[in-house]
């Protein structure tokens, strides 16, 4: 009797599975597998890549970045500069928020003021005052001559003043209302975010009518989701999965250099380094820092550990960005020369040092750190590894008091090297707000002055000159050892069409489906 029952149950199960196939995806619907979930859909809570990217679907800013990081008008249709510090913006008229309210200049002013009280206040730190001239005209005054204001404005997403005041922070977060190309349908945390096209979008309704973002945090599972057809597009493809995807006819792999530099922070400016058991800190000697650089085989790391999906770095920013100096040459792997330099510096037998690195922050970070340790061991520097999850790592290395060598990364999203120098290389505790993460305790007054000068000019050309000067000084000192730029890898079904972006964002409103 029970056997029959069991058979019935099993058959029912199998039938359900068979019938329960997907139903065919519509030609204007897209499912995206993302490496992370959004933290908020309130655009003013956190400066985090995925959060910003998803918020950009719902909200607009005054200006936008194109795929090539050019600034183009968005809600501000045009602007002019009255002086070094005063800008006037003319806004699009008749733009409506998703709830029907009209967008006006005061919504922008409100958004700026709202940001001032958050942990992303640095977005508006250079804005002295916003004046609402009339509903469609704004005046912005900067604190000092500030050449890159538009890059900051691009980050300031605009919320509806009336709605935000009425519903409060929590509801704004869960039921966001913006002027953007998509409206939120539902957000089930760590499962999916579904949006539908805003048919009344002021700049024309997007082609993809419904987009679902699924956070699939595990790299392997994300790849599996694309291979099994559950999603149409994934970001942050694991470098190991690239070949398999590239060899599949239905799939397209999108590869391009990213802005993220992976580098070594060298503790070379203190008498004693915490993890080196020697009387004085050997890395104070430039020759030792050079030996370390010569001892690392970046090409090998790129080829094997990164499976070819990275680009050796010759300095601290890619050539397209401000602060890049033509003619700086990276050190090529030369273990003999490295040993010579070590001997010259008085360390023919090398020394032992600890390398701090994260193990869940950058692509294959733990493996790269192990490769570096293995390579340096061959020139006599014995590297102990201290690998940490990112939740511990950034806390651990921030004060710089426990570290001698730190492997970390930086993404120059602002389009120049300035911010990176301010944070990592300007002398610690000397200038307000600068040098806060100077983990190598680098100090060079010429460098500091060059960085500060770059901030006090309204001309991009002058800024570039100052930053180039800084780059040259830091590279001569080997304040940081540049390793490689990561590659941004995305993979999609071949029928999804779009222009890949320099900032690696996935914007459904820039995509179409062509089956």
């Amino acid at each position: 009797m029970y056997k029959k029952g069991l058979i019935v149950v099993i058959i029912t199960l199998l039938l359900t599975i068979a019938v329960g196939s997907y139903g065919f995806a519509q030609d204007d619907e897209l499912v995206v597998g993302l490496a992370n979930d959004a933290l908020y859909l309130d655009p003013h809570q956190q400066n985090e890549t995925t959060t910003n990217m998803l918020c950009k679907h719902i909200y607009d800013s005054l200006v936008n970045h194109t795929a090539d990081m050019e600034i183009v008008p968005s809600l501000a249709k045009s602007w002019e500069r009255n002086s070094d510090t005063e800008w006037v913006f003319y806004l699009e008229e008749g733009v409506k928020f998703h709830n029907g309210n009209e967008f006006t200049a005061s919504d922008f002013k409100y958004s700026v003021d709202r940001i001032r009280d958050t942990i992303i206040a640095s977005h508006v730190a250079n804005i002295e005052e916003v004046t609402v001239v009339d509903d469609y005209t704004l005046k912005i005054e900067t604190v000092k001559p500030y050449a890159v204001l538009l890059r900051d404005l691009q980050k300031i997403m605009i919320v509806d003043e009336e709605y935000a005041e009425k519903v409060g922070d929590e509801k704004l977060n869960m039921e966001p209302v913006g002027t953007g190309p998509y409206e939120l349908v539902e957000w089930i945390k760590s499962d999916h975010i579904t949006m539908v096209a805003n048919e009344d979008y002021w700049d024309g309704a997007p082609e993809i009518k419904k987009v679902t973002f699924r956070p699939i945090t595990n790299n392997a599972t994300r790849t599996a989701a694309l291979l099994s057809g559950d999603v149409d597009l994934i970001n942050d493809v694991s470098v190991r999965d690239a070949e398999r995807i590239a060899s599949n006819d239905d799939l397209t792999l999108i590869e391009k250099p990213s802005l993220r530099l992976i580098y070594l922070h060298v503790d070379g400016w203190r008498e004693k380094s915490p993890t080196i058991d020697l009387e004085s800190n050997p890395m104070q000697d430039l020759r030792v820092r050079q030996a370390i650089y010569y001892g690392i085989n970046v090409d090998e790391i790129v080829e094997f550990t990164m499976n070819g999906h990275a680009y050796p770095a010759d300095q601290y920013v890619p050539s397209t960005l401000l602060g890049y100096v033509d003619g700086i040459e990276r050190y090529h792997h030369d273990p003999e020369k490295a040993k010579e330099l070590l001997a010259e510096a008085g360390y023919p037998d090398g020394f032992t040092v600890t390398l701090d690195a994260p193990n869940d922050r950058y692509v294959n970070d733990a493996e790269v750190a192990q490769a570096i340790a293995s390579q340096l061991s061959k020139i006599g520097i014995n590297v102990e590894l201290n690998l940490m999850p990112k939740s511990v790592f950034f806390d651990y290395v921030r004060p710089g008091d426990k570290s001698s060598l730190v492997m970390s990364g930086w993404s120059a999203t602002t389009g120049d090297s300035g911010r990176m120098y301010e944070v990592f290389l300007v002398t610690r505790d000397k200038y307000e707000g600068l040098g806060g993460s100077n983990r190598g305790h680098y100090t060079n007054d010429d460098f500091d002055q060059a960085v500060i000068a770059s901030n006090n000019t309204a001309s991009l050309k002058e800024r570039d000159q100052h930053l180039q000067e800084a780059t040259q000084i830091a590279f001569d000192d080997l304040a940081l050892i540049p390793l490689y730029y990561q590659e941004d890898l995305m993979a999609k079904k071949s029928y999804v069409e779009f222009t890949p972006r320099v900032d690696n964002a996935v914007f459904a409103f820039e995509m179409s489906i062509n089956k």
Partner: protein, 321 residues
């Protein structure tokens, strides 16, 4: 009986209280959540502001009293990452986990009971021995590895099953449930199989042991000699009695399945509270970790309580102390 229940209730509250103390103080040794929230270029002023915002500038004892006071009002604090009520975040995800656990338990029962009855009734048959060896293998399998292999074989290689996620969900009694949609049902199969293997093996062994015990009893021997049919003998007479200890032990086992769901959910990107826990550990999101622990503690204590009550009321030999 009443006195026993009140005593047990009092013990439950005591346990939860102790757990709250341990959890809170131990948790304050985890990575500094403030530095997770701010960008590497934040100034000291920004860091201080974030710290004040989270209430972490106060002394630990004060923080604990605020914590307890809030818990008593059902408020476990706000997630540092999402700035939303931690308990709400967990409860949002609870149906997904419970659904997965439910299907796994069901799967275990459907498979394990018949096999266990068989192996217990005929312990010396070769097939019984194979079943027992199989169950031993089930206990020995690293279940995360099984999950990976399931995805590899069924989702990536043969492409007959979805690899991850929960699929389509429908609202059912205010909860979001996926097993009622074909798509959702398809999504739950692999994770449920992975999660059920261990409990299946344990349930099978329990059933067999219970069965063997019962089969020795006189009334079964008597029924057999009277010629009662095999199936009805096994399933109506023997099983009923064999199941009493099984139910109680398996009740506790459910708690373990909830805990093991963290691994399953991580592998299958199943949006349940276990995955939330692992994500929160990675982000040092203390309030969510604390809330998860307290809720899970509550579930376990409650399960233990129910199991005890059921056990004492079924089996009159147990003395109520």
């Amino acid at each position: 009986m009443f006195k026993y229940i009140t005593k047990r209730l009092y013990q439950m509250i005591l346990v939860l209280f102790v757990v709250s103390i341990i959890v809170f103080f131990v948790m304050s040794f985890t990575g500094d959540p403030v530095l997770m929230m701010v960008t590497p270029d934040a100034t000291q002023a920004q860091i201080d502001r974030a710290r004040t915002e989270l209430g972490l500038d106060k002394p630990l004892i004060t923080q604990y009293f605020i914590f307890v006071k809030n818990i008593l009002r059902g408020d476990f604090g706000k997630s540092y990452v999402f700035k939303q009520s931690a308990i709400k975040l967990i409860i949002e995800r609870m149906p997904a986990t419970l659904e997965l656990v439910f299907v796994s338990v069901l799967l275990s029962i459907i498979v394990a009971i018949p096999l266990g009855v068989f192996a217990g009734a005929f312990p010396n048959k070769r097939s019984s021995k194979t079943i027992m060896l199989g169950s031993l293998l089930g206990i020995s399998l690293p279940n995360f590895w099984v999950g990976m292999m399931l995805i590899f074989v069924f989702a990536v290689h043969f492409r007959v099953m979805p690899s991850s996620g929960r699929g389509e969900v429908v609202n059912f009694l205010g909860m979001r449930i996926s097993i009622f949609t074909a798509d959702g049902f398809k999504h739950i199969i692999l994770p449920a199989v992975m999660l059920s293997i261990q409990s299946l093996a344990i349930l099978l062994r329990l059933t067999r042991a219970g069965m063997m015990e019962v089969m020795k009893q006189d009334y079964i021997k008597f029924a057999r000699s009277k010629g009662v049919l095999q199936n009805s003998l096994l399933f109506q007479h023997a099983l009923k009695n064999a199941l009493i200890p099984v139910i109680t032990v398996f009740g506790i086992q459910i708690g373990k399945i909830i805990a093991f769901a963290t691994v399953t959910e991580t592998i299958f990107s199943w949006p349940g509270m276990g995955k939330l826990l692992i994500d929160s550990i990675n982000r040092s999101d203390r309030p969510v970790m604390v809330a998860y622990l307290m809720i899970v503690a509550f579930i376990f204590v409650l399960l233990n309580f129910i199991v005890d009550i059921v056990y004492t009321s079924i089996d009159p030999r147990i003395d109520l102390r």
